[in-house]
């Protein structure tokens, strides 16, 4: 599975990994939406620390979760972005709807 999800009662932490494109985004989306709907978290963290590649499908992933969360007042945080992922997110203006943070990558992907 390309997403590992933990819930502590308030925060739903979704740790994504591998490459995010149109092909891989679908199972990630189904899995996270299922957990969001069941847990109704106050906050969702999408952690991109282990993501090695992302195209605009990652934007759709963030926007779609934002829409779902805003239906019941949850907030969204995006963390651990590589330079490349950050560039894609900024292009879409996602810094306006979610807290977006670049992360320190330890695997050499600058």
């Amino acid at each position: 599975m390309s997403v590992k999800i933990d819930f502590d009662g308030q925060v739903l932490n979704c740790r994504l990994n591998g490459e995010i494109d149109h092909h891989t985004a679908l199972p990630i989306r189904l899995e996270t939406d299922d957990r969001i709907e069941n847990c109704r978290p106050e906050k969702v963290i999408l952690d991109f620390s282990d993501v090695t590649f992302m195209d605009s499908s990652g934007i759709g992933l963030v926007m779609g979760r934002y829409k779902l969360l805003s239906q019941f007042g949850g907030s969204l945080e995006v963390t651990g972005l590589s330079n490349n992922s950050y560039k894609v997110m900024r292009l879409a203006g996602l810094d306006r709807i979610a807290t977006i943070q670049k992360g320190v990558k330890l695997n050499g992907n600058k």
């Binding site: 490459e19 494109d21 149109h22 092909h23 891989t24 985004a25 989306r29 590649f53 992302m54 195209d55 605009s56 499908s57 934007i59 759709g60 992933l61 926007m63 779609g64 330079n83 490349n84 560039k87 894609v88 292009l91 879409a92 050499g108 992907n109 600058k110």
Partner: protein
């Protein structure tokens, strides 16, 4: 002047998105690009190939044709072509956030291709297919 060239053809199955961008990136590695330049190329190619799959061959599987030319001035020209449904209004299709699909598609494919390369051109004919040409200069690491 073109100094090296590569072509490939593959089925428009979404599992090939990762394979195709990695292959193009591997071919361009001979220009000694930076990590950022490699990522730019992979991202732009991924958008173009995804468009062929989700738009060009929407409910069917067809062939996607990619050609990569390396010029002697460190310019790479990548063409991604399908024989799918074509684009009715290219100007509209290139507008940021415009999408005919909805759902989780952000409508930013062409915007990403534009900002991650130096030049994007799109030619298309309805019921005949679409060709996207991406041009990028590879400056590489400071030599």
């Amino acid at each position: 002047m073109v100094i090296n060239e590569f072509r490939m053809t593959f089925d428009s199955r979404s599992i090939n998105e990762g394979f195709s961008r990695a292959t193009v990136a591997a071919f361009t590695a001979q220009l000694d690009p930076t990590v950022e330049e490699i990522n730019d190329i992979k991202t732009a190619v991924s958008e173009a190939v995804t468009n062929c799959i989700v738009h060009g061959y929407r409910n069917t599987v067809g062939k996607i044709y990619i050609g990569v030319k390396i010029h002697n001035d460190n310019k790479i020209v990548i063409t991604i072509r399908d024989r799918g449904c074509g684009i009715n209004d290219i100007k509209k299709a290139r507008e940021p956030l415009f999408t005919t699909l909805g759902g989780d598609r952000a409508g930013l494919g062409f915007s990403v291709m534009e900002s991650f390369t130096d030049k994007l051109s799109v030619r298309s004919k309805v019921n005949s297919g679409t060709t996207v040409t991406l041009t990028k200069m590879i400056n590489g690491r400071e030599k």
